[in-house]
Symmetry: D2
C-alpha cells in the first residue's frame, strides 16, 4: 500500500481479497503496510486489486505454470522419439533438413545426406506460415507424403509443423514430432488439441514471448495430458536489424532451472545468416542445450524460403564433424 | 554488390534472378554495382539472392501487401455496421463494454449504460485467450447468447473475439463485428476463414508486429474476398514496464498514408491503467483515429479480467461527455 | 521465499537484512514465507539478498527517485523562462527551430518566421551528437553566437544542447534552456554539473530508458540543487522500423501522476517523418503535454541533419493555426 | 522512386544529389525508376533526399564506420596489454574482479585469488554509474589507488571504467585498459578523448545500440588515433525480464565478419544471475570470443553492487578449471 494509504483503503483491499475467496494478511511496516494474499491454488488474477485506491504495487509469488515447473518435477523429462532419447543427461540431438519441403528430389536428397552425416531427425515444412498471402505456403498434404517417403528411405523420424487444430490428426499420421511455430505459441486451441495426442510436440518460443509465457504455453499442452513437450528457442524480436532475430542462449540454463522439459535451439531462424549457424550451434551445446535444429538445403540459392540461413550439405557435414568432437569433449 | 564483388559474382546474381523468372538489370557505379530486379508481380522472396557471394544488401521496393494499400485504392474504405459508418471522414465511433462477458446482470447492465451514454457498439469477450491454462477462459457459447440478449435490449451491434477457424461460423451468428486478438494476428488459417464471411473483422495488431506485418495480415482477409477489415492498434511490447504495452499513436496517420482501411485504437489494453484511458482516447481522436474501443465494467474491482484498465460507468460517462465536445470541435 | 525454503535459509535472509542496517519482518503464509524489509530511507540495493538460497523474488516498494516524485511535492512545478511559464495549468508552449544551426541566414530566417507565427522559444543545435565521426558535428561556439543573434533579433529565448560537463558554463552564457540529448540521459557527470547552475534544463528521455530511469536521471539534476527540470519524451527504440522511434504519449499522463515536473513532447525525433508531426503534436496537447518541440527548417531538403522530419515554414504556420484553435478549445 | 513519380520529381531528386556534390544515376525499371547516388567518400546523410516528393525509399550501401571495418583491414587486430595478446587466433583472455572496488581487503583478496586461478586481468570499478543519485557511486580516486595496490601485489593489469573526459588522464595513470560503460557508448566527447591516449580501451555496447552504432562508436576512438579498441558485448535491453539483459552471442561471429577489432563478452551484466555466468562464459568462447569479463566477489552477499551476478571465489575457480579444458579443446 502507499505510505499515505488510509485505514479505509487497507480495509477495502482486505475485503476484496476475501471476496476472491482468499486470505488477506496485513503486515504493517514503519512507513507503509503490505498485505499478503494467501491460500490460492495456482496463479491468481490481480486485476481486482491492482487499481484499488491506495494500492502501490501487486507482486506475484506464484506463476502461470505449475506442472512444467522444475519445482514440482525435479528430475528432467526424457522424451523418446523412435529409439532416440531427448533430455537431461542424454547426447544432444541434431534435427536437420530444409525449411520447406519443395520437391521429392529436394527432400530425399537432403534426407539421405543428413542421415549419412549423423542427423537424428529430419525437419521439413509442409504447411508454411508466411507474412503475406501472395507467397509460397507449402506443399501441404503432398509435402507430408514426401516426408513419409524420406522417412521410409532413411529411417529418420520426422519433425514438421502443424498450424491449425483441425490438421493435428492429419499431421500426426506422418510426423513423429509435431512442431508449433513461433506465431502460434499462443494459439491456445492448437495447444490444447496437441495436448490430447500421444506424440511429442516441439514448441517454438513466440518471437516476443517472455520465458514465463513460453512455459505457460507448454503448460497448456501438458495440462491436457500430453507430457512430451520439447521447448525450442529460436531468437527473439529486438531493435537489432543486423540479425533476423536476437538469439539469447542464456534461456538454456534458465529454462533448465525453471522447468524439467528439454530445450533445443534453432540457430537458423535465430540468426537468419548461414555463417552464424555453426558458431551458434556449438555455443548452444556448450550452454547445455539438449539439441539443435538446423536448416540444410542442397541448393540454398534456389530455396523457396529461408535460403540465406540454410547450410549447404557440405556446410552441414563440416558442422557435424565439429559437433561430434564437441559432444565427445562434453562427455557424450 | 560489395565494392570488391567480381564479375563472376555479379553474373551469378543475374543468373539467379533469371531462374526466378524475373529480369535483372545491372547498374554499374563508381565504386560498386547495383542490380535492379524487375518484372515481379507483388513481393518476392529475397532469400535466393541475399547470401550469394558478393551481395552487400537486398532492398525491397515492393511490399508483402497490395490490395489493402492506399496506392491501389486511394479513397478510404467505409465500413457499415448496422447504420453506423466507420472510416475516413465519418464521425469516430466508440466501442465499449467489459473485457469478458461474466454474467447476464453484468453484460446487460453495462450495455444499457453505455448505450445511454452514446456508445456505438458493444464489446465483450465470450472466448478469452489467457496466458496460462488455469485461469478463466470465458463463458464461450453461453457468453455469445448473453451478448445477443444485450443487443436485443439495447440495439447495440456486437463486437466479440473469435479464436479459431472452426468457431468462425458460430461467432458469426451472434457478432456484428468479429475480432481477431493480438495473439492471433498471424493465425493465418483463422484470417483466411474470416476472409470468406461477409461480416466486418476487427483485426488487432500483434503485440510485436511491424506495421508491414499488420497490413500483410489484413491482406490475408482482404485477398480472400472480405473487404470489411478494421485495423486496431492496441499497444506494442517494449522494454517499458510502467504501462502494460506502449501505445504508439503515430501509427494512425502512418496507416492512413499506407492503407485505405479504417484504424481504431484500444487504449485500455495499450496502457493497462484506467487513469490513462481518457487522455489516450482523446489523443487518438485528434490524431485521426476512426474510433476507439474502451473497456467499461460496472464493478471493475470484481472483474474476472482486466479490471484495473476498465473504466467505471461513471468514468465512461465523463469520457463520453469530453469526446462529444472534442468530436464536435473536430467538425463531426 | 521459495515454498521449500528452509528455516535456515529464512534466517540467513533476515540476518543479511540486519547487516544492511534495516529491519526484517517475516510474514509466514500457507505455502511460503515473505520477508518485509523496513526502515530504509530511499531505494535500497537488493543485490545482497536477491540470490541468497531460498529467495524466490525481491520486490521494491520504493523508487530510485524521491525529490522529483509527486508523492513528495503534490503541486506541479512551474518553470519560468523569460516571461513564459511552463507547467501544469499553463498554456502549452511551442519550441521551434532547426535541428542544427547551419548559417546566419538559416537561423535568422527561421527565428523570424517562427516568432511571427507564435513560437515561444527557439531551438537549434550548436553541438550535435552524431552516430559516426565522419558527419557534420555542429558549428559549436559559432553556432551559439548565431543563436544569440537570433535571440537579439526576435526576443525568443534559446533552447540548445550541451553535451559535456566542461561546456555547461559556455552554453549557459548563450542558452535560456540547456538541453540534454537522449544519448546523454545517463551521463551522470553532465547531469550533476547541470544541477549546479540556475537555468532550466530540458532533459530528453533516453531512447531505451524506462520511466523510472528517466525520473531518476531528473533526480540527479534536482538533488544537486537545480529544480528547473523539464522532461521531454522523444520516442523510444522498439522493433518497429516504419517510424524513427515509437512515440508513447501515454507517458504524459503517467509522468503527471508520478512527478510534479513539466513534460513536453518532441514529435519530430519521435516519428522521423514530417507528415506525422502535426497529428502527433495535437495529440500530445490533448493528452496533457505542457508543450511541444518541433523542428522547422526554411529548406528541409537542404538541411544538414534531420531534413525529412523538419516542417517547412509553411507547414509550421499551418500547424500553429491548428494549435491555436486546439489550445483555445482546451481552455487556454 | 514511387511507381507514380513524375519526370519532374525524378529530376528534382537528381538536382538535389548534384547540390550535395555527388553523382546521380537514374535507372529506369518496368514499374519504377531507381536513382543511384555515387562518388561519396564514406556515409552520406540521406535527409536531403528521403522526403522529396515521389521518393519511395533510400538505401545505404555504405556505413557510418570505415576504419574499424574488416573491409579495410582484413587481418584481425591484436592488442597487447603487458605481455598479454588479445585478438584473433590468440588464447582467449579472462578478466575477473568485483563490480566495484569497496575496500583494500576486498580488492586485494579478490585479486590474489583470481590471479592464482589464472585470470589475465583484474577488473574493478572506482567510478560507478548508477541509475539514481542516492546510491553508492564508487570510491573514485581512492578506488584507483587500491587497484594500483592490487596490481603491485599480483602483477595483474587493471581494467577500470572512466566516465567523463576530464578523468581520462587521471584514470590513465592507474589503468592498463580504460573501460567505457554501456551508458557512455555514445558519449562522443569521452570517446574522442580516449582516442587521443595510447592505452587500450574496452568499449561496452550500449544497452540498446545496434551493431552498426557500436562499430561507429569504436570508429570515434579509432579515427582520433587510438587503434587499441576492444569491443565488449554485455547484453541488450529487450522485453524479457527474467534476465537482466538479453545476451546475444551471435554478435561474436557477426562482429568478426564486420570488423577486425577483438570482441569479448561480459556474461555477468548480460544475465544478472550467477548461475547463468559459467554456461554463458563457455558458450562465448566456443562462439569465438577473444575473452570474457566476469564479476567475482569474495562475499557476493555483502557486495555493494551486483552481488547476485558475481561469482564466489569458489565458483570462479570451478569455472577456470572448465575454461582451461575448453580452451585446450579449442586448440589454445
Amino acid at each position: 500500500m502507499h505510505h499515505k494509504a488510509s485505514r479505509k483503503q487497507i480495509d477495502a483491499v482486505i475485503a476484496t481479497v476475501k471476496i476472491m475467496g482468499l486470505t488477506a494478511k496485513p503486515i504493517p511496516g514503519s512507513q507503509r503496510t503490505a498485505i499478503g494474499v494467501l491460500g490460492n491454488k495456482g496463479y491468481i488474477n490481480d486485476l481486482n486489486i491492482r487499481d484499488l485506491p491506495g494500492v502501490k504495487e501487486v507482486i506475484h509469488v506464484t506463476k502461470p505454470y505449475k506442472m512444467v515447473s522444475r519445482d514440482f518435477h525435479p528430475r528432467g523429462t526424457i522424451i523418446n522419439v523412435a529409439d532416440i532419447e531427448i533430455g537431461e543427461g542424454k547426447r544432444p540431438i541434431v534435427i536437420a533438413g530444409p525449411c520447406a519441403v519443395e520437391s521429392e528430389n529436394q527432400i530425399i536428397r537432403t534426407a539421405v545426406a543428413v542421415k549419412r552425416m549423423g542427423a537424428d531427425l529430419l525437419r521439413g515444412g509442409a504447411f508454411k506460415p508466411r507474412t503475406g498471402p501472395h507467397t509460397f505456403q507449402g506443399l501441404e498434404k503432398e509435402g507430408l507424403k514426401l516426408l513419409a517417403l524420406a522417412k521410409k528411405k532413411t529411417g529418420l523420424p520426422i519433425v514438421t509443423e502443424v498450424m491449425t487444430p483441425e490438421n493435428v490428426s492429419l499431421v500426426s499420421e506422418y510426423a513423429d514430432v509435431l512442431q508449433v511455430g513461433t506465431r502460434n505459441m499462443q494459439n491456445f486451441d492448437l495447444l490444447r488439441e496437441l495436448g490430447r495426442i500421444n506424440k511429442p510436440v516441439l514448441l517454438k518460443r513466440g518471437m516476443s514471448a517472455t520465458i514465463e509465457e513460453f512455459l505457460a504455453a507448454a503448460e497448456y499442452i501438458y495440462a491436457e495430458g500430453n507430457h512430451k513437450v520439447i521447448l525450442c528457442e529460436r531468437g527473439i524480436r529486438t531493435f537489432e536489424t543486423a540479425t533476423r532475430n536476437s538469439l539469447d542462449l542464456s534461456v538454456i540454463p534458465l529454462i533448465n532451472e525453471l522447468s524439467h522439459l528439454p530445450v533445443i535451439i534453432d540457430p537458423s531462424h535465430a540468426t537468419g545468416k548461414r555463417s552464424l549457424v555453426p558458431p551458434m550451434s556449438k555455443a548452444a551445446l556448450v550452454a547445455g542445450a539438449n539439441g539443435i535444429m538446423v536448416e540444410v538445403h542442397p541448393e540454398p540459392d534456389k530455396a523457396l524460403s529461408d535460403g540465406p540461413q540454410s547450410l549447404t550439405i557440405q556446410g552441414f557435414e563440416k558442422l557435424m564433424g565439429e559437433i561430434r568432437k564437441l559432444t565427445s569433449f562434453l562427455g557424450y
